[in-house]
């Protein structure tokens, strides 16, 4: 029997097609994959609250035909899958993962729709196993906003080591499969995962791409007694009596590299803005009068900001994790500090640049930069940016110097004759000695 539509009701629910199209438009392919890695990392955070991820793995395999990511990070509990993980948007009742990196409740779904037309999620926790298998085209035809478990086993024990989640996407979108086939795409993806998940990799999680282990790349700053980076750590006042947000700021000097230069921003250890050189992070502040626009002479500038909180919602990131929410009050306040912190570093780099242009051999700033060693951020002490150029050594004047001058030829001839010498050199030397002996010698 068919329900008659209520004439007083105006329909406002979304069509699935619209929803999917909107959802995937906002995200780049690589970012979508990073979101899936974020899910695995959140799994690691749930089962290893002490923060050591040794033995945990995330394996990514992709080809023109399919995409697969497998982790051993605890799996998704059936209840979480049933009520939260596959919903679009996260209900406020959902139990929170502390220091989570995926908090908007769109990451996994968005990634799956972005990649292809068929996906299968298989997850095993210590207490349950489920499989969800979705043909996206079929699902779109169905009015119901739900997925069905294809398999479901509850109430049996699995060893924690054998838990984990596998996401498999097949029937990839044409453009996605073509990208995956490119080796340059794989290089790009590798680099971006390495940058985004530095912190988790430092804590021991092993990530591989097509069986190749990714490398941990630490952030480093030049540090010595004569060249010290700035480091400040604080909890903004409004967060002090609630769930705290910790902010760490570093600014200093690194290797000369115009691409790597700028500010990088991390939220809960996840890179959201890399080597930014725009007004978002203060470059060109005050029309360029407070802080100059980025220029290659600042290729050694490095700034790092880390926002950390047990409650990911408090952090100033956007939903695609591709930047900061510049309207966030927290970010605005921190940005003010960034501007203040980068000024002395920029002054230093300007002086360093001027020293290079000056010529000569006396280059005290160049020397302290050359002699400073790179250290990891963890080894940097709190304090402001500081440099101490050694007092320039006065160059010792050379023991001998050359004099040359012009005189009329007829007069030179007369002097030559008077001195009984034949060369101009002798004329010069003897006249000088003559004056010196008569006027200067005691």
């Amino acid at each position: 029997m068919e329900n008659k539509p209520d004439p007083k009701v105006v329909e406002a629910y979304p069509t699935k097609d619209f929803f999917i199209t909107m959802l995937v438009k906002d995200i780049e392919l690589i970012r979508a994959i990073l979101d899936l890695v974020d899910n695995s990392v959140d799994g690691a955070r749930r089962i290893r609250t002490e923060g050591n991820y040794g033995g945990l793995t995330v394996r990514i395999e992709l080809s023109a035909a399919q995409f697969k990511i497998t982790d051993n990070c605890g799996g998704i509990p059936v209840d979480v899958a049933r009520h939260y993980a596959f919903r679009f948007g996260r209900p406020s009742t959902m139990p929170k993962t502390l220091r989570s990196v995926g908090q908007f409740g769109v990451g996994m779904k968005r990634a799956l729709f972005k990649l292809g037309k068929h996906f299968k999620v298989e997850s095993t926790t210590t207490a349950s196993t489920f499989v969800i298998d979705v043909n996206v085209e079929d699902w779109k035809q169905d009015d119901k906003w739900q997925f069905d478990f294809k398999e479901l086993k509850e109430g049996r024990k699995t060893d924690l080591k054998k838990t984990g989640t596998t996401v498999l996407v097949t029937d990839l979108h044409d453009s996605v499969g073509q990208e995956f086939a490119l080796e340059t795409f794989q290089s790009k993806l590798k680099r971006e995962i390495e940058a985004a998940h530095q912190e988790s990799m430092e804590r021991g999680i092993a990530i591989s791409l097509n069986k190749l282990p990714l490398q941990f790349r630490p952030n480093e700053l030049l540090n010595s007694d004569e060249l010290r980076p700035a480091f400040e750590e604080f909890v903004p006042e409004i967060y002090k009596n609630k769930t705290p947000v910790t902010v760490k700021l570093f600014a200093g000097v690194g290797k000369s590299d115009p691409i790597a230069a700028g500010w990088s921003i991390y939220c809960n250890g996840r890179l959201v803005l890399e080597s930014d050189q725009t007004l978002v992070t203060g470059w060109g502040e005050g029309g360029g009068k407070v802080i100059p626009k980025f220029h290659n002479q600042f290729a050694r500038f490095r700034g790092y900001i880390f926002f950390d909180s047990d409650d990911a919602e408090l952090l100033p990131w956007n939903t695609t994790k591709t930047g900061v929410d510049s309207d966030s009050g927290l970010y605005k306040a921190v940005r003010q500090k960034m501007v203040a912190m980068m000024r002395p570093v920029i002054d230093f780099l300007n002086k360093l640049d001027a020293e290079k242009d000056k010529g000569g051999t006396d280059k005290p700033l160049t020397d302290i930069v050359a002699e400073a060693g790179a250290v990891r951020l963890a080894a940097v002490h709190q304090g402001s940016f500081h440099y101490a150029a050694r007092s320039a050594q006065r160059p010792t004047p050379p023991a001998e110097q050359k004099i040359s001058y012009m005189k009329p030829t007829d007069r030179i001839k007369k002097v030559k004759a008077a001195m009984r010498v034949s060369t101009l050199k002798e004329v010069g030397e003897k006249t000088f000695d003559y004056y010196y002996v008569n006027e200067c010698e005691d």
Partner: protein
């Protein structure tokens, strides 16, 4: 040991000569796309214009541009003076600056015969060709691929030169030894081609998407170790045309990783004449050797058609 005077003067770069002639033979087969003489040739002619002379004489191409990065007015005059034929035009500037100023709606043979190693500008030139050249066009890239044995971190050096994203993820330092560097260069270049075509094809319908077929993968050394990679760009629908070109019948054509190594046999002029009189043969074993080592016989019987006719003077 033969006296060096009896042998071919290696300063004349015989491998390069052989390579040039082989490529010319392959270019002749482009006639399936359109008459070869209607093609345009773009190269780096230097003062000598050897490639220009060969291509004009052998293929009849007369739309020719030589790119030269020289900016000095006096040197520019010297290039103009040395132009071998009136149909060769000079274009001064870096190739990355000149290529975008040229029209690309004419079928082109572009030979980027760089006198340096792989860097980001080379990949930029390759990408420009792939994004703009019309079907039937050919690109060839020659590079110095000599390994620097003092470099302890060659992969990092390469990343700095070409950009990290261009370097395949599984490339390790050990891969860049000996001819490995040449192989890595080929891989990076063909990756760039695929990437650029992928982008170009994004707005094209199935059937008219561009495809690149690698034809050349030469390894050779006159002094330094060199690599030449090249191929033809065409539309999917032209597959039968490409088949008719029968590039694969040419013994030196290489469509993949496997390189064709050009090695020059050490022979005297008298030996060359002696062998020429007997050639062609199916197997070099059939040749009357007269003391010439078997491997030189083998090399020469493969190369003799492309072998330089050197006299003592290089006129």
């Amino acid at each position: 040991m033969l006296g060096s005077s009896a042998r071919i003067n290696y300063n004349l770069r015989p491998s390069k000569h052989v390579e040039r002639k082989m490529m010319c033979e392959a270019f002749r087969r482009l006639s399936e796309f359109g008459t070869v003489e209607s093609y345009r040739y773009i190269g780096f002619g230097s003062f000598y214009f050897r490639d220009f002379a060969l291509i004009h004489k052998a293929l009849g191409i007369s739309n020719m541009t030589s790119i030269e990065r020289e900016e000095d007015e006096e040197d520019k005059k010297r290039f103009q003076f040395n132009l071998p034929y009136s149909c060769v035009k000079m274009a001064f500037g870096e190739s990355s600056a000149v290529l975008p100023t040229l029209p690309w709606d004419v079928r082109t043979i572009l030979w980027l015969d760089y006198d340096f190693s792989l860097d980001a500008s080379v990949l930029g030139d390759v990408a420009h060709f792939c994004a703009n050249a019309c079907a039937g066009s050919v690109i060839v890239v020659s590079l110095n691929a000599h390994p620097d044995n003092r470099d302890k971190t060659p992969v990092n050096t390469l990343k700095e030169k070409v950009g990290e994203n261009e370097v395949p993820v599984d490339l390790i330092d050990a891969h860049l030894k000996e001819w490995g560097k040449a192989s890595a260069f080929r891989r990076i270049i063909t990756n760039k081609v695929s990437e650029a075509l992928n982008i170009r094809n994004g707005t094209r319908a199935q059937g008219s998407r561009f495809v690149f077929k690698q034809l050349f993968n030469f390894h050779y050394r006159d002094n330094a170790m060199m690599v030449t990679v090249g191929g033809v760009l065409y539309e999917q629908g032209q597959e039968p045309l490409v088949a008719k070109c029968a590039f694969d019948h040419l013994p030196f054509v290489r469509a993949g990783e496997d390189a064709y190594r050009i090695e020059i046999p050490r022979l005297t002029y008298k030996e060359i004449r002696h062998l020429d009189e007997q050639l062609p043969v199916l197997q070099s074993l059939e040749l009357n050797a007269n003391g010439i080592p078997a491997e030189d016989l083998e090399l020469y019987s493969r190369l003799y058609r492309y072998f330089p006719n050197f006299a003592e003077a290089d006129l």
